[in-house]
């Protein structure tokens, strides 16, 4: 069998599951779930160091950035200015150039503010960042992002943390056809079948956080998502049979008594 490698900005990955590191009970649980998921990329957020409580554990003590690629995000940013500031700081910590841009425009639904997102993508790309962009599923905006140098297009399946699954399958299919850079479903996955569906539609990867972190058993869900992504990908690559409304017998007629 041919090896199936995911390439993002010339970096190669075996796993097509990207996981977030937020919302876990503690860092130990987060680290364990990531290990089980087999993910090679994890998203991380940038926040102030707690200067009054120095004993607080650091993410880097639990998840080694030398072993698992950190993908710094701009979660919580509502303007291009804030997003740029955040990612420049993230790069400063350890030279990260591959980043996840996420500029929100709506506090309730957490939908992306696409005008600010597009502006930020242009600026960051010029500064040498490889920008994976959280975006809506509008094919026109996604095309503009791609033309602006986005390293990956990451449309939402449904609002962040909603677990609703892929709401607009038609748009995701259109995006699959037109997108030349990796197409990654980011946000809205709720259960394994959602991840399978995304992969069967030909998406290059999925990004999951809440569905794993907030499951009653995050470890079991992490494993489930690992296999869902593998299963959906293999199903996509295998070339499925055409759906048919008529039955077709599986046993030969020849030799029938």
């Amino acid at each position: 069998m041919k090896s199936d490698i995911l390439k993002i900005a010339n970096k190669k990955f075996k796993s097509r599951l990207i996981v977030g590191t937020g919302k876990y009970k503690n860092m130990k649980e987060c680290a364990e779930a990531i290990k089980i998921s087999g993910a090679e990329i994890v998203t991380v957020a940038l926040r102030r160091v707690n200067i009054s409580d120095k004993s607080k554990p650091l993410l880097m003590d639990y998840i080694d950035p030398k072993k698992i690629m950190y993908l710094p995000n701009t979660a919580g940013c509502f303007t291009s200015k804030d997003a740029l500031r955040t990612l420049r700081l993230a790069r400063e910590i350890g030279g990260w150039k591959l980043v996840k841009l996420e500029v929100l425009g709506d506090k309730k639904n957490l939908f992306p503010e696409m005008i600010e997102t597009l502006k930020s993508t242009e600026v960051l790309t010029k500064e040498g960042f490889k920008v994976m962009v959280y975006c809506n599923d509008d094919p026109l905006m996604c095309k503009r992002l791609e033309n602006s140098g986005a390293a990956a297009i990451m449309p939402l399946a449904a609002p962040i943390g909603s677990g609703l699954g892929i709401q607009n399958k038609t748009n995701i299919r259109i995006l699959r056809k037109q997108t030349k850079v990796p197409l990654i479903i980011d946000a809205g996955i709720g259960q394994a079948s959602d991840a399978v569906e995304a992969m069967e539609m030909g998406c290059d990867a999925v990004l999951i956080n809440t569905a794993i972190a907030k499951a009653k058993d995050p470890f079991q869900m992490a494993e489930s998502m690992k296999y869902a992504v593998l299963s959906g990908r293999k199903s996509f690559l295998s070339g499925r049979i055409m759906p048919n409304f008529q039955g077709s017998p599986t046993s030969p007629k020849e030799g029938l008594i």
């Binding site: 926040r47 102030r48 400063e92 910590i93």
Partner: protein
């Protein structure tokens, strides 16, 4: 210590009173910040971590020290 030799700086939103000749390196040491795991901003400009000992605070300087935490 004479009050004249003291200045106020804001570190991650908290006001700290420090000596006039206090450097960014002194601050990082005081806070026991693991330097290779953070990025530092002084008045919204990113600071080169190699030059910490050469940067001395002025009154009302704003410092941000950030690191990675869990996020989606």
């Amino acid at each position: 210590m004479n009050k004249k030799n003291k200045i106020k700086i804001v570190v991650n939103g908290k006001i700290l009173t420090v000596n006039l000749n206090f450097s960014l390196k002194n601050l990082i040491e005081k806070l026991k910040t693991p330097i290779n795991k953070v990025a530092i901003e002084l008045n919204e400009e990113i600071v080169d971590k190699k030059k910490l000992s050469k940067i001395f605070f002025k009154n009302k300087d704003k410092v941000e020290i950030v690191h990675f935490i869990g996020g989606g």
